[in-house]
Amino acid sequence: MGTQAPQSIDVQPDNQVPVERPRTISRTNETDPAQHGEQHEGQHYSVPLQDLKTVFPHGLPPRFVMQVKTFGEACLMVRKPALELLHYLKNTNFAYPAVRYVLYGERGTGKTLSLCHAIHFCAKHGWLILHIPDAHLWVKNCRELLQSTYNKQRFDQPLEASTWLKNFKITNEHFLSQIKVQEKYIWNKRESTEKGSPLGEVVEQGITRVKNATDAVGIVLKELKRQSSSGLFHLLVAVDGVNALWGRTTLKREDKSPIAPEELALIYNLRKMMWNDWHGGAIVLTLSQTGSLFKRSKAYLPHELLGKEGFDALDPFVPILVSNYNLKEFESCIHYYLENSWLQHEKAPTEEGKKELLFLSNANPAQLERLCAYL
């Protein structure tokens, strides 16, 4: 089915042809992100719920998950930053080193959902998705911190690593049997993974033996980086809240001295992934102030959030600014809520109601969603 007509239709001033009132169209039937173009800007496309379970077992913002549960459908809005990112991803040259794209913007503008749009596109095209839903969760509130078995200087985080491995398995089930490990890994006196065995075994080992989960994650990252150049698969590394890798942690050792991020094995291995010394894929990152530690609440620029170390590590990268809704997107969002009968207040569909919503939310997607929740 083709796309529906764009919002404003240029009608030639002709006495016979009746002038069509521009209707707000908030939905499109195009479910394939590869076909999304500028004509779909501002429109919502729905992700099938089956795909949602496999592609996004983790990674969607919690309020969006609540919305999906309430409406019974997952609809993402097609916006300019996401379209720009998709355009770059479509034209990636897999022979060149992986390009880093950084989505930045103020709080609540839609960086995470733009990242999810890109991930959906790559999943549809059979890329291998390495999605870390929130790097900030790895640098704070860790209940169990073990000394790493591989390197005495570093620390293991068994819980976080095992949950991530479980979700990674759900997303990339079919790749785990195809990719073969290129080295022998010895876990302990009794268990080891032979060279040439599928990657799925390493993941299983990490999930079942929680103590080795962090090392399993490290092995997965190393193998994928090594083998992405082979051309078997395209690798997408998607990290939300990447500024956690170069910030500070709130974790402390037993003697109450603070731990630097590089002393955590997960962070150390992830930082190696961020280097562009591999090819055969792309790296899409999001900066986030919301979960960050020791950063001003109004900070959103890459230099502020990444700090000198992070900026130098990621330099050069392609920055993509995600901003608040423009008028067309705002109208589309309101129209989508009205279609789903989410705006129940009788004054909400009126012009004054819309003006008031625009004023109160300043066209910020997160604020608008919170306002409409109780109206």
Partner: protein, 242 residues
């Protein structure tokens, strides 16, 4: 004379604390509550449409009023006045009653979370219901809120009246304001006291509101008990003199 009668009544407060005085309605000439503003201050007019009218479109009377206001003293508008189209006086009153220690931000956030919880619960019900039921299920949280509070309002109340050294609970018709106040007070007390400490207020309040909307639940029970007590004490009704 009225002032001296009221002064005598006020001295009785030492006898029985917490007793609502039925005797306030002796001749209502005395001002009990006073205001810092002296009498010449006029109330403010907070109507956007009134001030948006173009100068040319004003009638003679309105022009005179406008000139007169320039010379008169006007009270400050309270901070709670809004020109928002979504403002609801019932919700504002309920928020103020929920507020503790002046923390209006917390009270307002609790109310908005409650309305959201009510809406989501109703949407869930609507999704899983058949076509006929879908037409009946109400999804507007404001309508549910208003209807629930209306269902909780008692029709008749009890008032302690002193006769012959004893306080008798006399059934008495309640004013509209008092009924609305009692409904809100009962709802808030019920949600604060009879819940497990781990359950959050919006969850409990949304549950109670939905129950009251369907004329069930502990707050409706309390209203019905009040009615039963009033019915039981019918014989004392002649103690009322107003």
């Amino acid at each position: 004379m009225a002032a001296s009668a009221l002064k005598v009544v006020r001295s009785w407060s030492g006898l029985a604390p917490g007793v609502t005085f039925a005797v306030w309605s002796i001749p209502r000439q005395t001002q009990v509550r006073w205001s810092r503003y002296s009498p010449e201050f006029r109330d403010p007019l907070t109507d956007k449409e009134h001030y948006r009218k173009p100068v040319a479109g004003l009638t003679e009377e309105e022009k005179y009023e406008k000139e007169l206001k320039k010379t008169q003293l006007i009270k400050a508008a309270p901070t709670t006045t809004t020109c928002s189209v979504f403002a609801d006086p019932v919700i504002s009153k309920f928020t103020n009653m929920m507020m503790k220690g002046g923390n209006k931000i917390l009270a307002r956030s609790l109310i908005t979370q409650t309305l959201e919880a009510v809406k989501r619960k109703q949407f869930e019900k609507h999704r899983t219901a058949s076509a006929e039921e879908q037409a009946i299920i109400e999804r507007n949280p404001y309508i549910i809120f208003h209807q629930a509070l209306k269902n909780c309002e008692p029709v008749i109340g009890l008032v302690p009246i002193l006769r012959g050294g004893h306080f008798y609970q006399v059934p008495v018709p309640l004013a509209d304001q008092r009924r609305r106040f009692l409904a809100m007070k009962w709802m808030i007390t019920e949600c604060r006291e009879h819940k497990h400490r781990r359950i959050l207020m919006p969850e409990k309040l949304s549950h109670e509101l939905l129950q009251a909307f369907h004329n069930q639940g502990p707050v409706i029970k309390r209203k019905q008990e009040m009615h039963k007590m009033a019915e039981a004490n019918r014989a004392l009704a002649h103690y009322r003199w107003w």
